[in-house]
Structures are given as C-alpha cells and as structure tokens.
C-alpha cells in the first residue's frame, strides 16, 4: 500500500518492548556524568565559603565557627559550579537524582568529632602563638621606650 509508509516502524513497535521506562518502579539509567545531587566529604572541607559565595542560587550556607555545611536541595540546580570552584575537591556530583519530598529539604553536614578536635586544637595552637608573638612585640616596644 503506497500510503502506509510508516508500516515497518509501526510493526516493529508493535512487537518490541516500549521505549519508555516505568519510573519509579524501574531504576533510571545513570551515567557517569549524570547530574544527580551534590555530596560533600565534610572532613576535607576548609569552610572557606567560596562555594556558598559563588552558588548561582544561594543554595549553600557555610558556618565557619560551627563547622557546618548546609545545602538547600530545593534550590540546587545541579550546575556543578561548587564542584568546579572547591579548592579542596571536597564536593562531588553524585549520579542519583535527588529524592522528591513534601517538605523543604535543607541538609546540614557537620564535621566529624575527630576532625573537629583536630581543627580546634590547631586553631587554639595558632591563637596561642599569635598571643605570644603579640606579647613579645609589646615587651620589645616597652623596652625600647624605656631606653629612650
């Protein structure tokens, strides 16, 4: 029949399985590059805040004092900008899509206790050193003033 040109394609689709996937009952195909959701290795994070400053949608919040890194999953547009700018390579784009939810999802990642101890100790040491240097400088200044 001259007019039934889609005949071959129609017959093929009659006998093959559908081209669509019954998501969410079937797992979607994730590829290596698929943009799913952001995952942080929180012990590597320096809490510098660059990812938060440069996020186009302000989805990330970084609290330096409390050592927490928060992401608003609903604001994240999976642009991978934070992954590109992180100097510590602490952020990666995981492949699984973010879960749908009926509540506003803001995930807070807190640093592990061991790492927190280490950092607080290092910070305390640094503060002590700075205080010592300041004292020495002050003492030097006093001695110099006395001489004159």
């Amino acid at each position: 029949m001259g007019e039934f040109k889609l005949g071959r394609m129609t017959l093929k689709s009659l006998f093959s399985k559908p081209a669509t996937k019954l998501y969410p009952f079937e797992e979607p195909t994730y590829y290596q590059e698929t943009k799913g959701h952001i995952v942080i290795d929180v012990d590597k994070c320096r809490y510098c805040g660059v990812c938060a400053n440069l996020c186009p949608t302000n989805a990330i919040e970084v609290d330096r004092k409390a050592y927490t890194w928060t992401i608003d999953r609903f604001r994240c547009i999976q642009c991978r900008n934070c992954v590109h700018v992180c100097t510590e390579s602490a952020l990666i784009m995981a492949n699984e899509y973010a879960e749908p939810s009926t509540e506003h999802v803001r995930e807070v990642f807190e640093i592990s206790p061991e790492e927190r101890e280490k950092r607080e100790a290092a910070a305390a040491e640094k503060a002590a050193k700075a205080a010592k240097l300041k004292e020495e400088a002050l003492a030097k200044k006093k001695a110099k003033a006395k001489e004159e």
């Binding site: 590829y31 590059e33 186009p56 547009i77």
Partner: protein, 362 residues
C-alpha cells in the same frame, strides 16, 4: 465586502508550544491582518546580569530557553571571549560545535514532532520524539543533563569527551539516520500533509528580506542567511558549508529545510569528530571585563541567528547583556505570512516558524 471579526488566538492554544497572542482580523474565513502580542513569560533575565557575576551568569543564560539551551550558553561564552580577548583551545571549539549541532538536531526533531501533532499525525510525533531520546541520552552521557547541559563556559568547556565516546556517538547517529529517513519519507510524501502545507503561507524572497527574517524561515524563501557561513571560529574549518535553500517560501519548504538541516548536522558532526585535535578543553579566565569594553557575537541557533551584545564596566558584573533571539526577528515575518491565509491554516503557519517565545521574552 465580507464582515470583519477579530478572533483572539493564544496565549493558550493546543498547538502552541509557548504562549504568544495574536489578534486575527478576519473577513469571513480569510485572515486580513494579525496583531501579535508577547510578554507573558518575561522573566527580566537581562537585568539579572547585575546580580550574577559574568562567570556565574552562564548558568542563567543557558536557562533562557529549554530547547536552545546550549546555543545560549555558547553564544554568551563567545560574547565574553570577544569582550576579554580570551583564546579558546581548539579541542574545546570542536566539542562545542558537536554539542551545538546535536542541539540543533534535537530541536528540529522536537519541532517535527510538534508539527506532525498539529495535523493530528500523532504516531509520527511519538516516533520522532522516540528518536530524539537517543540524542538526549548522548547529552546525558557526555555532559550530565538531558536538556540543560551546564557544560559551556567562557574560556572553553568543563568536561571532555573521550575519542572512543565520540566514535560511539557517530555510530549512534548513523543508525538514527536510517530511521530518520523513514520518518521524513512518511512526512513529506504523504498526500494529506502535502495538501495542507504546499502553497500555504507563502512569503516571497523580497518580503522576507524586507522583514529581516532569519533562520530556516528565511532560507525557505530563498535568502542565503546562515551564521555558519561567515563564522570565524571552528565552523570555518568545515570543508564546505552550503546553507539549505528553497525557493518556494511556503510551509512545505520550511518543513523541508529543517528536515534537511538535521542530515547536514549529522555530516558536520562526523567531520568535526574526524578533525578534532588533542589538547586542553578550557582556558583560565581571570580578571574582570575592562571598563567600557563592548562586544557583539552572532550565533546560528536552530531557529535562526541569535545576536549577543555585552558591555563591561570594570567590575565582575556586566554592565549590559543583550540577546536578540531569532523568533523576535521572525515575528514580523510571521505576521506577513499569516496575512491572506485561511483561519484553519494559522496554526500550521505559526508552527512552521518554529516559535520559541521564552527566548524572545527572556
């Protein structure tokens, strides 16, 4: 003298992919005049350039439109590179063109499905979109997203595609070509399709030139306008590039031009993959655009020529970003093509323009 009535068309209409409003002035069943109106999805994206620095703005630029998404990020990156005199590595130029031509293919297939659906040819619509899925899978495999790729940036691209992957893409396109030829044969040789499209909405070459139309709309009327002919970047490395022209200027010619462009894109991608060099894919971009520096860029998107203008002011925020999209240039031509046709042909004519109103309004 028939009676004149005014019928509103849109913004909500089953055949329109995006909201555009037309006031059709009818005399009996003939359209005498059409008055367009847009602005239903104006998002003020040009003003957003004051709040996102020039490197982050590329994520906004690619969200101007869902169908021509990569084209906008490509055009914006080009404009910034012209503004700041950044040299893009050759491999990045080739990769960008591969993604852009894939984007052109998926846009034309999407459009072909919509045009078929407008006639009621739903099975062709489904088959075309099933074929288009393979391109979206290629996007997801190489860049991570199906529609919004987030891969182009001023200075190059973020991810590389391995040469083995490129070969695999060429193989996929070769198998797609066979099915695509079947679909095109069905569409273009069908007698009912021909009777609805041939001789409808004719735009002569003179009128098309007068109204400043661009893209396949202009090429179907015989105007040899294609941004890829005069490109100074990697498109100039093609051995030969001839724009696809037709002299009829009716709806059938516009459909035919777009269908042929998909085949041309497959050839371009094959050529780019053969010629791709090894090397870096991104150049570091440091500093801010100079105060008072300006740049223009032109980009041949699936719907026509997109025109970009950027101006810097010494800070990391741009002073002005302007994008003039192809559908904005085609609206006057569309109005001219609608004049004199029957009311029943109006949806066909509008669809053969391939309107992308979200680009037009930003």
């Amino acid at each position: 003298m028939g009676q004149r009535t005014v019928i509103p068309f849109g913004p909500q209409h089953p055949v329109l992919p995006e909201p555009v409003h037309l006031d059709l002035v009818l005399e009996d069943e003939r359209v005498v005049d059409a008055i367009p109106q847009i602005g239903f999805i104006h998002r003020g994206l040009e003003k957003l350039v004051e709040k996102r620095d020039y490197q982050r703005y590329v994520y906004v630029a690619e969200r101007i439109c869902g169908i021509c998404s990569f084209g906008h990020s490509f055009g914006y990156s080009r404009a910034i590179e012209a503004l700041m005199n950044i040299e893009v590595p050759e491999r990045a130029q080739h990769l960008r063109i591969i993604w852009h031509e894939l984007s052109r293919m998926h846009s034309h297939m999407l459009w072909l499905g919509l045009a078929a659906d407008a006639f009621g040819f739903e099975s062709l619509f489904m088959h075309t979109w099933r074929l288009r899925e393979r391109i979206l899978e290629i996007f997801e495999r190489t860049a991570g997203g199906r529609v919004i790729l987030s891969v182009c940036t001023p200075g190059g691209v973020f991810s590389d595609i391995e040469n083995t992957e490129l070969r695999a893409i060429c193989d996929i396109l070769a198998t797609m070509r066979v099915e695509y030829d079947q679909i095109c044969a069905t569409f273009f040789e069908d007698s009912s399709v021909r009777s609805r499209l041939v001789g409808v909405g004719v735009l002569s070459q003179e009128t098309a030139r007068e109204f400043g139309t661009v893209g396949p709309f202009a090429r179907a009327s015989g105007l040899a306008i294609d941004g890829r002919m005069t490109d100074t970047d990697a498109y100039s490395k093609l051995v030969a590039f001839e724009p696809i022209l037709s002299n009829d200027g009716d709806c059938y010619a516009r459909c035919w031009c777009r269908a042929q462009e998909v085949r041309q894109s497959i050839d371009i991608i094959n050529e780019m993959v053969d010629k791709i060099p090894q090397g870096e894919v991104r150049a570091e971009v440091k500093g801010n655009p100079a105060e008072g520096a300006e740049a223009f860029a032109r980009m041949e998107q699936p719907r026509g020529e997109a025109f970009y203008y950027v101006k810097g002011n010494g800070t990391k925020y741009l002073e002005r970003f302007r994008v003039r999209t192809p559908t904005a240039a085609n609206i006057p031509g569309m109005v001219a093509a609608i004049r004199g046709c029957d009311l029943a042909d109006v949806p066909n004519i509008i669809l053969t323009i391939d309107p992308c109103i979200s680009c037009t309004e930003r």
